[in-house]
Symmetry: C2
Subunit: 437 residues, 2 copies
């Protein structure tokens, strides 16, 4: 018997019929001998309806009151799902964020989970209840209601899985897993059976928005194995877990792209200490999120710094840098370039394989695509290209690393795999793997 | 400066415009130098909408989950009212039942307030905030969400007024006070400036459904002076308070009627101990609410018992009594009569005035109305009449006691009156009173 946390988003509970489907799914997971804790979002549309009322009442509604208002959406869902469970003979019990013992810190509308006291949930589990927990909410030590901001229900599910020591946490969503690349762009993109936390984080920060980074970070911190899978079918999804040795056999796990990027280059900077700090300081004060940051000494003996950012921030960046130019000296100059996109190849196998960058650049060169900036991390190589060619670039790199073909690898830990694969729908996937001696 | 609790029902917060009106009203009460705590219901329609979903999901939805679901309605209202306050520059703060420290006992969907810990509310008041508290809800010692059942928001308001030692509690509703009789029936019915708790309770139990009895009982127990007034205008309403000596100068405070009554008479009962207990026992087991209960020895030497009840219960009562008849002996027989109504005249002045029943019966006789059963308490005389004549009966008794004319009486406690009258809108009313030496 496994203890499974299943998270259902707003679309999955978006109507009474869908709530009945969720209840049936939870029942089927139970019928297979598991205990289940569901974490649910508000019915889709409910949160927006509440926010609309708030914005009609006030141009700038108080965030404390927004939390009080919006958190009712999840409270309604949990009651309705619990009722639907009871109606099919399952002992469903709703659990609010407060009842789940979720204490938060930080600001209203973007609280952070500080601690979970799982005693009440554990009592209910000991009584063999099926819990339906409100995602996206918690309370502060002082008893104020907090919501957790975007992706908050995923975070709730993963944090609860850690607190009640669940065997796995399933994030049921409208995509059916994490792909080697966006299948709308690369037709032969393949759903990944597994991906490491670090790879998932790099994919997320490079544009693959399956989940918010902080949920993945939380899972990594507390070693929560979670699976991204579809709420519409029973196909196995993608397991996200700590890397294991066999994973390094795969050089590149996946490719992510990010469009609408812009580059700003400040050139003619005297090669003196403190210059970079000044430049990054004014951009930070202007609340511009920088992505790639590259600096170098040019042939003219002056330093130059280049940054990428979302193209929406380009104007703000130019305005922020303008007053600084005179301070940087007579030769300082700002150049900008819009219409670029970023392609990132991610894989922990890079650490133990050489020639990865060469393979990637050669593939792009063969496709006639010019590379702009290059930035690397231990498990990522990112390049900028002309935005018009980003899809071609993705296909070329996907092909070069043969990402459409499933790799053959070791089972790293048979017992823990079997625990995961014994969950509903995972059996087929298990059989496709080959255990090498 | 007075501390005032104002309760607004679902209609008063039934749209964003009405929420703005409530906020404006709260602001105006503050602008007059008072501190205000609002207690609000769910926006009208919201609770019904939630119940509809629950009933679609389950034929018999769990009462625990109904509480979780339905309590979101008030939580939404408090956030929205607080936002509307902030939008007009008033420091509104929403307070859930839990945050208000309301602990409850009893069953789900009909919890009873056990205790209020007002510390958080007092902190907010000390910081000069305008509180917006969710009516109708509390939590158990174990942390489960309870709703308080019908009239629960009134109860919340009165209980909070007691807990924070408010000067007065205003119940703002769609009627503008308690009348000497239903003004739709008696055109010259007069709004009462004040009524004692006991009179209000007798009126409530006799068909005048301005408020649930338990709210009035709670107010009496904790000496909370409350005022029933309209949320649509600023007219003074009716103060409900502990009786004071001057109140006894008024013989009859008001008249209430109750339609759709039925009478059941069991006759031919041997005059032996235990017979009444048997009969009341089977009716109680059948969950029939009896109103008037009269028993007597008839001229034939047998006992007879008569009861009134709502006519909906008549069939159930007959079925319950049938198996009992043989036990009661060969002469036992059940007679029933539908189509009757009850008229009750209520007033604490009855205790010190004689001839009240005579005046009432004479008035009914002069109007050609036959009296059925008669029942009295220390402060009430109730009679049944043919339902077709109940409105004529009400008018006849109203006239006989000259209830359309305001009595002249003493001010019983000048300082406490002035406190109440200094609240907005009460000044006019004050001037109409005459202080006798």
């Amino acid at each position: 018997m496994a203890l499974i946390v299943q998270k259902y988003g707003g679309t999955s509970v978006g109507s009474l019929d869908r709530i009945r489907n969720v209840a049936a799914r939870l029942k089927s997971t139970r019928d297979q001998g598991n205990q289940v804790v569901a974490v649910v979002s508000a019915m889709s549309g409910v949160t927006d309806g509440l926010l609309k009322m708030a914005n009609e009442l006030s141009e700038n509604p108080s965030e404390r009151e927004l939390d009080v208002l919006v958190s009712t959406g999840e409270q309604q869902s949990i009651a309705l799902v619990a009722m639907a469970l009871q109606d099919i003979g399952v002992a469903g019990v709703s659990v609010t964020g407060r009842q789940a013992g979720i204490t938060t810190i930080g600001s209203h509308t973007r609280g952070r989970i500080e601690d979970i006291d799982p005693r009440y949930m554990n009592e209910l589990l000991a009584a063999d209840k099926t819990l339906v927990v409100a995602g996206f909410q918690g309370i502060t030590q002082q008893g104020a209601i907090h919501t957790l901001g975007r992706g908050g229900s995923d975070l709730t599910a993963i944090a609860i899985a850690a607190a009640i020591k669940a065997d796995v946490c399933q994030i049921l969503t409208d995509v059916d897993g994490v792909y080697t690349c966006d299948p709308r762009i690369v037709k032969n993109a393949r759903k990944l059976p597994e991906i490491s936390y670090d790879e998932m984080l790099e994919m997320a920060s490079s544009g693959s928005k399956v989940m918010q980074s902080r949920s993945v970070e939380f899972a990594k911190k507390y070693s929560v194995i979670f699976e991204v899978r579809s709420s519409l079918n029973n196909n196995p999804g993608t397991l996200v877990l700590e890397e294991h040795p066999a994973m390094e056999n795969v050089v590149i796990r996946g490719i992510s792209i990010e469009r609408s990027q812009a580059r700003v280059t400040v050139k003619g900077i005297p090669d003196e200490p403190g210059m970079s700090g000044k430049i990054l300081g004014v951009l930070g004060d202007a609340e511009i999120n920088l992505d790639m940051i590259i600096s170098n000494i040019a042939s003219d003996g002056y330093a130059r710094h280049s940054f990428t950012m979302h193209s929406n921030d380009l104007g703000k960046a130019q305005a922020a840098l303008k007053p600084l130019l005179s301070e940087l000296g007579p030769n300082a100059k700002v150049e900008t370039e819009g219409g670029i996109a970023k392609l990132s190849a991610v894989g922990i196998g890079m650490r133990s394989h050489s020639g990865v960058a060469a393979t990637m650049f050669k593939a792009l060169g063969n496709a006639g695509i010019n590379i702009g900036m290059i930035s690397t991390s231990e498990i990522k190589i990112a390049v900028t290209v002309d935005e018009r060619f980003i899809e071609d670039a993705a296909r070329a790199v996907h092909d070069a690393f043969a990402l459409d073909k499933a790799p053959i690898w070791f089972l790293h830990d048979k017992s823990s795999w079997e625990k995961c694969f014994s969950l509903d729908g995972m059996k087929t996937f298990h059989r496709t793997r080959v255990a090498l001696p």
